[in-house]
């Protein structure tokens, strides 16, 4: 059974349809990429999945269970983790404390098991040496790592990554991709919005194209990238 499925999900902000009748499902352990021009409604789609926004129409299901009416806290507890496009760590907490919050509340870990789990996540995301630093002072790469680490600490079964590779150098991007691949190989399902295509296509097995809130295509990455309409709309090629 699909771990996450959307069925006919629509959302408007005033007259603007930002999500228009989107339906897809994600199998356990699958990695799905989402691409599309700016303003295509990619981040809005994440907000609909996490519950930060309620759809005007359609259903969001987790393990086949309708969660459309559930709050972000409930969906986090059911296994949805998220990293933001613009990192939003708790600035006044240390890196380690950021993870502890995620592990204790989102991951429902006990006081006894959380520290070890958090240290493990810190090690895997290359943040161990920064554990006691205030999150507010970190440079971009480490803020992005922290976004990922914090989402991992909630013990998600589906992790949503929003342009996590944007703004990084090639080497930094490579490190992050290796971490993401490792998370994926352990069976965590991934939905990844990204403009850095080579990073994306090195992990995902399916690719979705959004344009003006509509799902234009979904399929194998090479098929999608070869499609003429995708090249026109997404890459901005004329004819």
């Amino acid at each position: 059974m699909a771990i996450l499925s959307l069925q006919g999900v629509s959302k408007s902000f005033g007259a603007l349809k930002v999500t228009d009748d989107v339906s897809f499902s994600l199998e356990p352990g699958e990695a799905l990429g989402i691409i599309g021009p700016n303003g295509a409604g990619k981040s809005t789609l994440f907000n609909l999945i996490t519950g930060n926004l309620r759809p005007d129409a359609g259903l969001v299901r987790l393990d086949g269970r309708d969660v459309t009416g559930e709050t972000p806290m409930q969906r986090c507890a059911s296994g949805i983790g998220r990293s933001f496009q613009i990192p939003q760590p708790f600035d006044h907490l240390s890196v380690y404390e950021n993870l502890l919050v995620a592990a204790r509340f989102g991951g429902a870990m006990t006081a006894a098991e959380a520290p070890a789990a958090c240290m493990d996540v810190l090690a895997r995301t290359g943040l161990a040496h920064l554990a006691d630093r205030k999150a507010g002072g970190l440079p971009l790469l480490n803020r992005k790592r922290l976004e990922l680490a914090r989402a991992m600490a909630t013990k998600p079964r589906v992790i949503l990554l929003d342009e996590i590779a944007g703004g990084l150098t090639d080497a930094e991007c490579g490190e992050l991709v290796a971490t993401i691949r490792a998370i994926h190989s352990e069976g965590t399902a991934i939905i990844w919005i990204e403009h850095v295509l080579h990073a994306l296509t090195s992990v995902v097995t399916r690719l979705m194209v959004l344009n003006f809130g509509k799902m234009l295509m979904i399929g194998a990455p090479e098929e999608v990238m070869a499609a003429r309409e995708v090249r026109e709309i997404y890459l901005g090629l004329d004819a």
């Binding site: 972000p72 806290m73 986090c76 998220r82 939003q88 907490l93 404390e97 995620a102 989102g106 429902a108």
Partner: protein, 287 residues
Amino acid sequence: MSWADTLAQGLLLGGLYALFAAGLSLVFGIMRLVNLAHGDLIVLGAYLILGIGSALGISPFLAASIALPVMFALGWVLQMALLNRVLGEDILPPLLVTFGLSVVIQNGLLSAFTADSRKLPIGPVEAHSLPLGPVTVGVMPLITFGSAIAVILILNWLFYRTALGRAFRATSDDAVTAQLMGIRPKQIFGMATGIALVVATIAALYLGARANFDPSIGPARLLYAFEAVIIGGLGSLWGTLAGGLVIGVAQTFGAALNPEWQILAGHIAFVAVLLVRPRGLFPRAQD
């Protein structure tokens, strides 16, 4: 009275003001809520202690230990049923609602207990004093001051060493992201206001033991509390203690010069600190 005595009295009085302010500081720090009813809730706590004490015939100290969980529950219910509904981007609704709450509490106390001023009967300990080096200090002011230090220590421990405290700080940083980490901000806010009212009740015990109180004195306590929080710098509990001490010392020195200057001297000290340090003595590093 020597100047050393005046200083000692001022510092000890400052402990009481820090207790007034700690709850206010906590709530503002966590949910950016300025609770205009904080002073009246302290007075309500004093009447609750008085009521429990006379109904059961027990000392105010025992009565306070019963009042503490009651006030915690009141804080929780107040937050969940009322204040959570008005918290948001706009800071005006919470101000209006807590202002209304202040009026309701004052008038409720007025009809229940009349305008007569009351005092908590704490017995002979009130008159006890200790020689402390060059000065002599009262036992009750000393206990008050010790309680203020203990409250700040415990609040700091709670804030920086416990899962609840991390949830407080995370929610204060970013309530929307906190939800994605599985935190329920409304319940966190309920806990915070409950704890703030526990501290307010401790303050109420020492307020009622030190001097007379009546239903109308809440807003003046709120003002001292405010000044202590602002002098200390928003978001710093030790700063709030320092702010309380500044006002306490200024008031006793003012009173030593001329009894009519007590209150005025506290306010002048407040303005003076703000002129020199507009963000208070110990502002949070980054905001």
